[in-house]
């Protein structure tokens, strides 16, 4: 009689396992309110929390978890997870060029815009089949008025060997640097080849190469360099930080930088991803980004204060020079660009 009530170690372990399995079920149900967002760290992530997650998503019960890293490792992770039924992120912050590339790789879900009420206010150019544009800016010329007597007018007189070691170039922005050099030397958004010779000449003349935007900002601040090319939004941030720089919208054209969000095909919580995308297009969130980060809103309903608009935006004349990238060309040649950049330009 007493034997039948005996609980041995094995029974106890089995029971514990069953309990644990049971406990996991409600936990899974709770997960549906969790949105895992892949994003860059630093300011961008902080501002996502400030302008989107805390005011718009938290009150509706969404729990946002961030996977912060630069985009190359996040893209590598997305590709590594491609064959999994359930991925580990619901939404990923990527540049338009990278969204295009990830879509080509078959990793991104096609967006169903009927699930996004705020999408009706989206600037048509920011509506990608595989992602939504969040903010945009343009590549402009930055110069220090104290060190450069004649302000440059475009890429040609910026990416010029005459500046010697006063010219700064960012390693990670090889694509836009190649585009700018291409435009400066008579190329186009679909042909950067003419610019290569110009870049090599600048490097030979002593142009300095920096690993990151922050390192370049530091060099501008210490007056190690006097000019460079950069997103207008970054220039505004740096001006706010007290760095003595002016911006010029290049006469050859202003290549656009669009940053947006895409949804992996195997996102565990697609409803959450749609909620995030919709909140991101809310006018208040977009206005917050314009003021805090200096990027232009991608929805027509956002009202940016006039003085901010003057600094971050582009005049009508300049807007005519905004050019979008040829994403197919960039994606197709990216490996070749990197090879050239690493071996022939830096090497």
């Amino acid at each position: 009689m007493s034997r039948s009530f005996m609980i041995n170690r094995r029974t106890a372990l089995g029971g514990a396992a069953a309990l644990a399995a049971g406990a996991a079920l409600p936990a899974h149900a709770q997960d549906n309110k969790r949105i895992v967002v892949g994003t860059w760290g630093g300011d961008y992530s902080r501002l996502l929390a400030k302008n989107i997650e805390t005011p718009l998503l938290a009150p509706k019960g969404w729990d946002v978890v961030k996977d912060e890293a630069n985009d190359p490792p996040r893209r590598a992770k997305m590709l590594a997870e491609k064959s999994l039924r359930r991925g580990t992120s619901d939404i990923q912050g990527l540049s338009a060029a990278n969204m295009f590339e990830m879509n080509e790789q078959g990793v991104l879900e096609q967006i169903d815009y009927s699930k996004l009420p705020n999408a009706q206010n989206l600037i048509p150019a920011m509506k990608y089949a595989y992602g939504v544009g969040h903010i945009y800016s343009g590549k402009v010329v930055l110069y220090n008025p104290k060190l450069v007597s004649t302000p440059p007018t475009g890429f040609a007189d910026t990416l010029d060997p005459k500046h010697g070691e006063k010219l700064g170039i960012i390693d990670i922005q090889y694509q836009y640097t190649l585009l700018a050099a291409g435009l400066a030397s008579g190329g186009s958004m679909s042909n950067v080849e003419p610019g290569k010779e110009r870049l090599v000449a600048c490097k030979k003349a002593g142009a300095r190469i920096y690993p990151s935007n922050e390192a370049l900002a530091q060099a501008l601040k210490t007056e190690e360099i006097a000019l460079c090319i950069m997103w207008k939004a970054r220039a505004v941030q740096w001006q706010n930080a007290g760095i003595n720089i002016e911006t010029v919208a290049p006469k050859e054209g202003v290549p656009m930088y669009v940053s947006g969000f895409g949804m992996p095909k195997n996102a565990p919580n697609k409803a959450g991803a749609y909620a995030y995308l919709d909140a991101m297009m809310e006018a208040s969130a977009q206005e917050g980004f314009a003021v805090d980060m200096g990027y232009n809103p991608t929805v027509t309903t956002a009202k940016v204060p006039d003085d901010t608009q003057k600094r971050i935006g582009f005049t009508d004349e300049e807007k005519k020079r905004l050019v979008d990238l040829d994403y197919a060309y960039m994606a197709k040649n990216d490996s070749a660009f990197q090879d050239w950049w690493n071996k022939s330009f830096k090497g």
Binding site: A76, Q105, D171, Y210, T222
Partner: protein, 297 residues
């Protein structure tokens, strides 16, 4: 009945345990190593034989040695391998030369502050590599500690370029690896009886001869352990060359990372990883054999 069971139970268990204990003890570690090291290595090796289509950035199933051939036929890549080997050898030698006297002093000191000395050697290991590199960045910058001090004293009028150069990387890696060398040497030197050194002196050997004929051969196991450890760490250094070397300086580990993340070229990244591993292993084994043969002769 119960008594008999009690009396026989332990004996039976012991007999059963005899055969199983050893297996049971090594199984968890074996499974862990097999799953977490060998399996990924095997997968990576398989990937390194695949093809890559640059225009689509896609890996295509294949069995080809093209990635390995590409590495060894392109001077860009072979020069990175040579730089890595050169820096690893240099760092190891400097660590040995600088570390030996320090290890000797620590091993032989009778001071009551000995434990503090050891802690101060180990202390840098409490801070992660990248944090330490960030500290060096503050020291080496154009307006950093070194340049600001030198300019402040009027010794130079233009900042010396240290940051983003090979010099910065070498100093950074030496700082990371030195504790490993000192600790390996110190534990072995401590085990050498002081009386052996005194015997050499009493027989008329000058310090240099004592070092060459007595201390060095006896400390050889520690020297081997220290150099192997330092060399492997230097060959695979990632954070230091990445942060202090800047965009123009390349070593193997950052190159592997670049191929995987920046270029999404897994096959070539896998091939480079295997080349790095093989070269490191081969050089380590070769150095080991040479030193041991020397010691015997």
């Amino acid at each position: 009945m119960t008594d008999t069971a009690l009396a026989h139970g332990p004996v039976v268990e012991k007999r059963r345990g005899d055969g199983l204990t050893a297996a049971a003890l090594i199984t968890p570690a074996t499974i862990f190593v097999a799953l977490c090291l060998l399996a990924p290595l095997a997968i990576l090796f398989r990937y390194s034989l695949n093809d890559f289509i640059p225009a689509k950035k896609m890996m295509v199933e294949a069995v080809t040695a093209a990635n390995y051939v590409k590495f060894f036929t392109d001077p860009y890549y072979t020069s990175i391998l040579l730089t890595t080997v050169r820096i690893a050898v240099l760092v190891t030698l400097v660590c040995l030369v600088v570390g030996f006297p320090l290890a000797y002093v620590v091993a032989r000191t009778q001071s009551r502050w000995k434990h503090l000395l050891i802690i101060s050697i180990v202390l840098p290991l409490f801070v992660g590599n990248s944090v330490r590199a960030a500290g060096w960045m503050v020291v080496f910058g154009n307006k950093g500690f070194v340049n600001a001090s030198l300019m402040g004293f009027g010794l130079i009028d233009k900042p010396i370029e240290i940051m983003f150069t090979e010099k910065a990387v070498i100093i950074g890696i030496i700082a990371v690896n030195l504790p490993f060398m000192v600790l390996s040497l110190q534990s072995v030197i401590e085990g050498i009886d002081r009386a052996v050194e005194e015997a050499a002196f009493s027989l008329g050997a000058p310090p240099a001869t004592m070092f060459r004929r007595v201390l060095w051969p006896l400390a050889l196991p520690g020297i081997l352990a220290g150099t192997i450890l330092t060399f492997i760490l230097a060959m695979n250094a990632y954070a230091t060359p990445f942060l202090l070397g800047g965009p123009l300086f390349k070593m193997m580990a950052p190159l592997v990372y670049n191929q995987f993340t920046q270029q999404t070229n897994w096959p070539f990244g896998g091939a480079i990883a295997f080349i790095l591993m093989t070269v490191t292993l081969a050089l380590t084994v070769a150095a080991n054999l040479i030193i041991q043969r020397r010691a015997r002769s």
